[in-house]
């Protein structure tokens, strides 16, 4: 899911070849889960079908001579995705991290991303807090478990917010 | 060995901490050093007094002539005739001798190399200065000043003395001597038991508050120190180490205090040497403190300072995370605090009917006073605690202050016990002084009767010479002749005076006097025969009135006053002729003109003045110095109160800021500071006035003066104490304002 938005987002800074796209993705988000070529091409095919990217033909031959460019609809989609808060759940950082980095790369306000997420987290935490003060001890313990996890996420959000400058300078370099 | 080294390190660390604490540390050190320094200076002064007095006395003795022993001394080549020409100028006594050599090897008084010839005089430097300033004095003896008397012939730099060369003395009018120097003389007039009592009590009153003050001075800033020690415990210092470090800190302050005290003492010595007047003036070389006492001070003051610190630290437990005070939990006990005051009363009680003649009573009285005053200092903490625990309710400001005092009254009490002791002592002393004043009679100035001045000539000059000269003297309104003889009957000597009604009124309450009356003062009525000094007897006319002496003449004892009319047709014994003068007392120069006239005619003549001007002046000086002393002491105590209150405020800065956040009025906070300072002072003052008045009454009873309450003394001392409270509050206001700024809400 987030892979397609990530690839789409990477196109915002200019058209790229499929191979180029894979390398950039791997460099930026890859770490120990690099993309297969096949995955890139299938994703691109789907995006092409949905009208979110278009192909710029180039003189020359071979399958690798295709350059993908983002369409206006694609840009809107990326913006909408980035701005949308994730449903709070454990292990969402990878998605969130992707969003933050992309926002930085595309010149969007990464702080907004974090703030939106914080608001969403707090909304859920408020609900859990309310549920727990109305409920019995079992509710309380279950809610607290969730609350502590959410709090840990929020801490990460805070920390990231405080280090945005450093992250930005690393990405731009 | 290593143990010793770590100890030294710890004490040194404490000393370093005392200066390394930034501005607060320096302030604390300065306060301790000043407090201890002032105490040390006073102690040094007291330690210097014996040697200085002894040196001065030795010189006085060296110039004194043994007149009584030399009555049958034959005239010789090494003898000399002297005349006693000591005389007053303004309030000061001028020691004077007329010298007339009888041979080629006359004795020479100390400090003199060549005797002055007739018409010449030698003067002390102080007298020379005075003569230069006062033309009235310069013309008194009508002699040429040919030199000065050297230091070894003077009691001190302010000694007023002269030697007048003459050739008019005869065996009758002069005294023959063969040398100067007479050990064992009593001071002129002798030291009365009352004066001894006065100085003994004065010593106690002076030293007690100094002790209390020094004890509280070494505790200045103790709370901040405890917090610093807590920080040290956090890094691993144990309780004993913290005590040694604290001792080191105090030691630094106390040693600095010794230096400050020495400097102050030297400064005071220089000032005394330069500006002192009257009998108590000393040369710099006289002012050598008794070595044993100096050693005692140098060792004792730091030791006591450290002891005070350690005993104060027993009240707190310095723990790594803070300071726990124990004082709040243990209530003070009363019984042992009562021991000393009860002992004091026991010592004073037997003296309530007067000192009597037995020796050592002054000591007993001084000890009683000291015990009572120390007892007061001990009683006060219990009293404050007991009172404060009964207080409560009232406004918020009051509640804040009272609760604070309930939690820890010790700090406030320490500052106040100084006030209490000094106030009690000063009230007692003032009472004693006014008691003494009432027994010696007023200062003549207040007695408006004429003929209060009497001239008692020694040389044999014709009456008319005297009368003419006296009448020409400015300020003399009228001269009357009074003839007087001494008569003895059954062991009581009675002064018999013969003069007009107008003159006799100066000696006794002779209202309605007519020529022919005879008045008896303290003499049994009825005819009596008196033995006269020339071994004849005389039966004067019988007294027809019994009257009381005028205040100025009370001290002269029994007298018989006869008007010339009562003597008509009687044989009158030969009597000395005195002159009573109606002097214009409104003009302070009048008496000086009179003395000038007298000195020109016969320097040995006694000018008798109304009242007891010298003693009264002494008493006035004592009163004034008491007042100055009180003010200084109270200011010191005010300073320590300011330090205490400011320190407490600083400790509570967070709470103060929170109170301000809650909308507490500054007025409320100021009010609470005021109450916090005022309540202990008020309690202390009540106790002090009670103790002081009781002591004063006891002392007045001892000197057999009417027991009165010295409202003036109580009023002034209480007033100054109230000012100190207000001043303390005012002085801490800036701190309060600074501490209630919102910045202090920030949790550090």
């Amino acid at each position: 899911m987030s892979v397609s938005f990530a690839l789409l987002g990477l196109l915002e800074n200019g058209p790229r070849h499929g191979y180029d796209l894979k390398r950039t993705y791997d460099d930026t988000f890859g770490r120990d889960r690099e993309l297969h070529y096949g995955q890139v091409y299938s994703t691109m095919a789907r995006l092409l079908k949905n009208g979110l990217v278009e192909v710029e033909a180039e003189p020359g031959v071979g399958p690798d001579r295709k350059r993908y460019a983002i369409t206006d609809a694609g840009v809107t989609d990326v913006a909408e995705w980035i701005g949308r808060a994730e449903k709070p759940e454990p292990y969402l950082q990878s998605t969130l991290y992707t969003k933050v980095v992309l926002a930085l790369m595309t010149g969007r306000d990464a702080t907004d991303v974090l703030d939106a997420q914080r608001t969403e987290h707090l909304r859920l935490m408020r609900e859990l807090t309310r549920r727990k003060s109305g409920g019995d001890i079992a509710d309380e313990l279950i809610c607290d478990h969730a609350l502590f996890h959410l709090e840990a996420d929020l801490r990460w959000l805070e920390l990231t917010a405080a280090r945005l400058d450093r992250l930005a300078s690393r990405i731009r370099s | 060995m290593t143990r010793l080294r770590t100890w030294a390190f710890e004490i040194g660390l404490g000393a370093r901490m005392s200066v390394a604490g930034g501005r607060a540390g320096w302030t604390r050190l300065a306060l301790i050093a000043t407090g201890v320094g002032i105490g040390v200076a006073v102690l040094l002064a007291v330690a210097t007094l014996p040697t200085a007095l002894a040196a001065s006395n030795a010189r006085t003795e060296a110039r004194t002539e043994n007149i009584a022993a030399s009555t049958d001394l034959p005239r010789g080549d090494d003898t000399m005739l002297i005349g006693i020409a000591t005389m007053m100028f303004r309030g000061d006594s001028v020691h004077g001798r007329m010298l007339q050599a009888e041979g080629s090897r006359p004795p020479v008084p100390p400090g003199v190399t060549t005797l002055p010839g007739p018409g010449e005089m030698l003067v002390s430097p102080a007298l020379a200065d005075l003569m230069a300033d006062e033309p009235l004095l310069a013309q008194r003896w009508g002699a040429r000043v040919v030199g000065t008397i050297a230091d070894e012939g003077l009691s001190g730099p302010a000694d007023l003395a002269f030697y007048l060369g003459t050739d008019t003395l005869t065996e009758e009018t002069g005294h023959r001597i063969a040398g100067f120097g007479y050990a064992g003389v009593e001071d002129e007039g002798g030291v009365s038991p009352v004066m001894l009592l006065l100085s003994a009590v004065g010593m106690v009153v002076l030293l007690m508050p100094v002790m209390v003050f020094m004890a509280s001075a070494v505790r200045f800033g103790g709370e901040a120190r405890d917090r610093r020690l807590a920080a040290l415990r956090l890094v691993g210092a144990d309780a004993a180490m913290t005590r040694r470090i604290a001792a080191g800190e105090t030691l630094a302050g106390a040693l600095l205090g010794l230096v400050v005290g020495a400097v102050l003492a030297v400064g005071a010595g220089l000032l005394v040497n330069r500006y002192a007047s009257g009998a108590m003036s000393f040369y710099l070389t006289d002012m050598r403190p008794v070595p044993a006492l100096v050693a005692l001070i140098a060792v004792g003051v730091p030791a006591v300072a450290v002891l005070v610190t350690l005993s104060a630290m027993r009240q707190v437990v310095v723990q790594p995370l803070g300071v726990v005070r124990l004082s709040g939990t243990t209530r003070r006990r009363l019984w042992w605090r009562l021991i000393l005051p009860v002992l004091g009363v026991a010592l004073l009680w037997p003296l309530k009917d007067g000192l009597g003649g037995s020796s050592g009573v002054e000591l007993q009285a001084a000890a009683g006073v000291a015990l009572l005053l120390i007892g007061l200092a001990l009683l006060l903490p219990w009293w404050v605690e007991a009172t404060v625990h009964r207080l409560g309710g009232g406004s918020v400001a009051w509640e804040l202050a009272i609760r604070r005092l309930q939690l820890d009254s010790g700090t406030a009490v320490r500052a106040v016990s100084g006030i209490a002791v000094s106030v009690a002592g000063v009230i007692a002393l003032q009472g004693l002084v006014s008691g003494v004043e009432s027994t010696i009679g007023g200062e003549g100035g207040s007695d408006a009767r004429p003929f209060q001045h009497e001239i008692l000539p020694r040389a044999d000059l014709p009456d008319q010479t005297w009368i003419t000269a006296l009448e020409k003297t400015p300020g003399v309104r009228e001269v009357q002749t009074v003839r007087s003889v001494y008569g003895t009957q059954d062991g009581t000597s009675v002064r018999i005076r013969i003069g007009d009604c107008a003159v006799l009124a100066a000696f006794a309450e002779t209202a309605g006097c007519a020529d022919g009356d005879v008045y008896a003062v303290d003499v049994p009525a009825g005819p009596a025969t008196y033995e006269l000094s020339d071994d004849t007897t005389w039966t004067p006319p019988t007294a027809n009135h019994e009257v009381a002496a005028t205040p100025s003449y009370e001290i002269y004892g029994p007298a018989l006053l006869i008007t010339p009319g009562a003597l008509r047709g009687m044989k009158v014994p030969s009597a000395e002729t005195n002159f009573a003068l109606n002097l214009d007392t409104a003009d302070p120069d009048a008496v000086e003109h009179l003395r000038n006239t007298v000195a020109t005619l016969d320097p040995q003549t006694l000018v008798s003045e109304p009242g007891n001007a010298t003693v009264a002046a002494t008493m006035r000086t004592i009163r004034q110095s008491l007042l100055v002393g009180t003010v200084v002491l109270l200011l010191l105590i005010g300073a320590s109160l300011v330090v205490n209150v400011a320190e407490q405020l600083r400790e509570r800065r967070k709470v103060l800021a929170v109170l301000v956040a809650f909308g507490t009025r500054r007025r409320t906070l100021t009010g609470s500071v005021l109450a916090q300072a005022a309540v202990p002072v008020l309690i202390g003052m009540t106790l002090a006035v009670g103790f002081g008045s009781a002591l004063a009454a006891a002392l007045m009873a001892m000197v057999e003066a009417p027991v009165t309450v010295d409202w003036f003394g109580i009023g002034t001392t209480s007033g100054v104490a109230a000012l100190v409270v207000l001043g303390t509050t005012a002085a801490t206001l800036p701190t309060l304002m600074r501490l209630t700024r919102p910045g202090n809400l920030r949790s550090e």
Partner: protein
């Protein structure tokens, strides 16, 4: 129906020397709501709180309370406002150490002129409500941290203020005690209808709020108020 906010801050600026503690901060607090001021330490939360409460005066900008302009008031007037309409809870060390807990709670009432007996009666009720009646006659030093904070909460609410300012009220407590304090605090505030401005950097504490505002470098990012 356009409901007006009870407390507003508009474009506040305040520097301490070089530090711009507030750099154009705005905030709106509606009656009865709990707003959490979040942000990293040093971001200006406490400064904003002090400005809102009239303890500090901003260099520029306006603080309004119930239609009145706090910046235009004298110190005396602002003190009176704090006595009458505001309550405060701080992180720790706010109770007067020599007064008993009951006397501490009664203090705001007594400052506004209530008699001692009456004030103590009300204080006792509040101590019971915050479940600390057992320390009523002890000094704060003898109560635990959690008890002390609950006493402080009781003191903040005893005068039925319209706004309670709480600066890290659980900052010095463990999570269990923190939860307890917050639960009782917010429940009592809701009951009396007091608005709460709650400075905290702990999400679990902020979760007791109705809405949060993020403070960063002296600027506030406010979440919209929805009724």
């Amino acid at each position: 129906m356009t409901e007006q906010p009870l407390l507003t801050a508009e474009d506040l600026r305040l520097s301490f020397g070089e530090t711009k503690a507030l750099d154009g901060a705005s905030l709106h607090v509606w009656a009865g709501e709990v707003v959490a001021l979040m942000g990293s330490s040093g971001s200006g939360k406490s400064t904003l709180l002090h400005c809102l409460a009239g303890i500090l005066t901003p260099e520029s900008g306006r603080v309004g309370y119930a239609g009145r302009d706090l910046s235009a008031m004298s110190d005396t007037e602002r003190s009176a406002l704090r006595r009458g309409e505001f309550g405060f809870v701080f992180q720790f060390g706010q109770l007067v150490p020599e007064l008993t807990c009951r006397e501490n709670v009664a203090l705001p009432l007594r400052l506004t002129g209530t008699g001692r007996r009456e004030a103590h009666r009300t204080a006792t009720e509040w101590l019971e409500r915050l479940e600390v009646a057992d320390v009523a006659d002890k000094r704060p030093g003898q109560a635990s941290g959690g008890q002390g904070q609950r006493v402080a909460v009781a003191r903040a609410l005893v005068g039925r203020p319209r706004v309670v300012f709480a600066d890290e009220p659980t900052g010095a407590l463990d999570s269990l005690n923190g939860e307890l304090v917050m639960k009782l605090f917010i429940a009592a505030a809701k009951e009396t209808g007091a608005a709460v401005v709650l400075v905290t950097h702990e999400a679990r504490v902020a979760a007791y709020s109705d809405r949060e505002a993020i403070v960063r470098d002296g600027v506030v990012r406010e979440q919209e108020y929805v009724r």
